[in-house]
Symmetry: D2
């Protein structure tokens, strides 16, 4: 079954010199940073950024991560990052498609999964907080899943 996209968001990063390795390409671990920037930009637009998460009493650690590296990026390249929220009720699962801005060639496909953890007792939550679900459903970017 294909993933349903609830929220879609686009942003860009320009590859800095210090992210390039001796093969003249972005060192693979640095894409994790680009994905975090894109995720934070999306959460900012949803009005539920990291400070908001803390105000509501939760941390949201990453519990899973996968990346498929298709083509390498290099210094100065502009990468467009499409973030898509594909699960938001049990956890926050995001799919990332990184493309070269100009040619639209796919560079990297990735997913991250985050869970809410109560800051007062460290307990992992099996449902995301109501405040978060309301932020998602109330967003004008929200695309509900229509069942037949």
């Amino acid at each position: 079954m294909p993933e349903h996209v609830y929220i879609r968001h686009e942003s860009q990063v320009e590859v800095p010199f210090y992210d390039i390795d001796p093969m003249n390409i972005v060192w693979h671990g640095n894409y994790i940073k680009y994905m975090e920037r894109a995720r934070c930009a999306m959460l900012e637009e949803l009005g539920y950024n990291y400070p908001t998460m803390q105000e509501h009493g939760h941390g949201w650690p990453i519990v899973k991560l996968d990346c498929k590296y298709i083509r390498p990026a290099t210094f100065g390249q502009i990468i467009q990052i499409e973030c898509a929220i594909v699960e938001f009720e049990s956890c926050l699962k995001i799919r990332y498609i990184l493309r070269d801005l100009v040619s639209r060639t796919k560079l990297t496909l990735a997913h991250t999964t985050q869970v809410a953890v109560r800051l007062d007792n460290g307990e992992m939550q099996f449902q995301t907080p109501d405040s978060f679900q309301q932020a998602i459903r109330g967003s004008n970017l929200f695309m509900p899943l229509k069942l037949q």
Copy 2:
């Protein structure tokens, strides 16, 4: 089918201050660095490190990565990293188990997959180089797969 382990190697890293995030835990992207250090230490022991790869005319980019974060690590903690080569003929696939050195608690499980790419023409190889396979099979750490 469980993964067969051809080579097993152990190493340690101590978590530095600059890897810690505002939640007082290692930022999730930093584990990729610990895994690379462990991988390089294992390849060094096999006599086939990154410079050797280049001398044989290949780059070995990471094409896939997955991580499962179980428990967070924090400043000063000693992490033991068990690297296991689970595929070396079509590609180099490594499994990583990161544990707290003292309690042996599992912190992170991960895999990386690398393929050989010819440096002269950029072509991806569907078999790893003979020199690499010989280095693996000739190692005193090699545990061959026994078929019934």
Copy 3:
């Protein structure tokens, strides 16, 4: 004697989450990255970026660096970086003033010095290349030093 500013350039960075340390401020080493981004943006505008440097046969390693940290920056803050070239004939010396974008409060003062090194023989040059000096003097941002 105060520094003469030959070229002035402004750019901005937004502090990402992964640059924040357990004290909830930017880890001090990360400002070096912001300075490099600002420097690259300025060199891009001067038409003499890192690839141009290489085409002209030189690397330009940093040989000196100093930073004075006045106030810390934190997650999401927009930092304005004023880059000023204060020497370009014997070396490339740049002064950086990092300010909070909104309040204009100074956060960090810094300098970097780079020298040209010939890529063919590794020799350090005591004059910057003609092509570089021409790029500086020919820029519409150039402010010549007027002697009394």
Copy 4:
């Protein structure tokens, strides 16, 4: 007047692949990390590490940093770091000499200055805490300044 060395400490780092830039040398900002590792190892030996600093109610931000890069380091090189405390009463000022372990060639010279800041009110202290000065003076590594 030459700097008086109150405490001297040595440690080593091995340059990891992910710290190397396209010129095949350590990217200059990464030395800041090596210096922090060396500083933390020294403070650990003095029994006054970062957690101890916090227990005594202080943060110790870096307020000044300078580096002189003499020779570049590259992948796999072992760097020996000599840390020397050259001031500990008004602030914590440390001098770093980074050398190639084998040839003893100097690679980088640097200084950092840290001040104590009270965590309860954010006030910068013009004297380091008594507990810190006692840790320094009580260490068997302490070399007092002898006045003629």
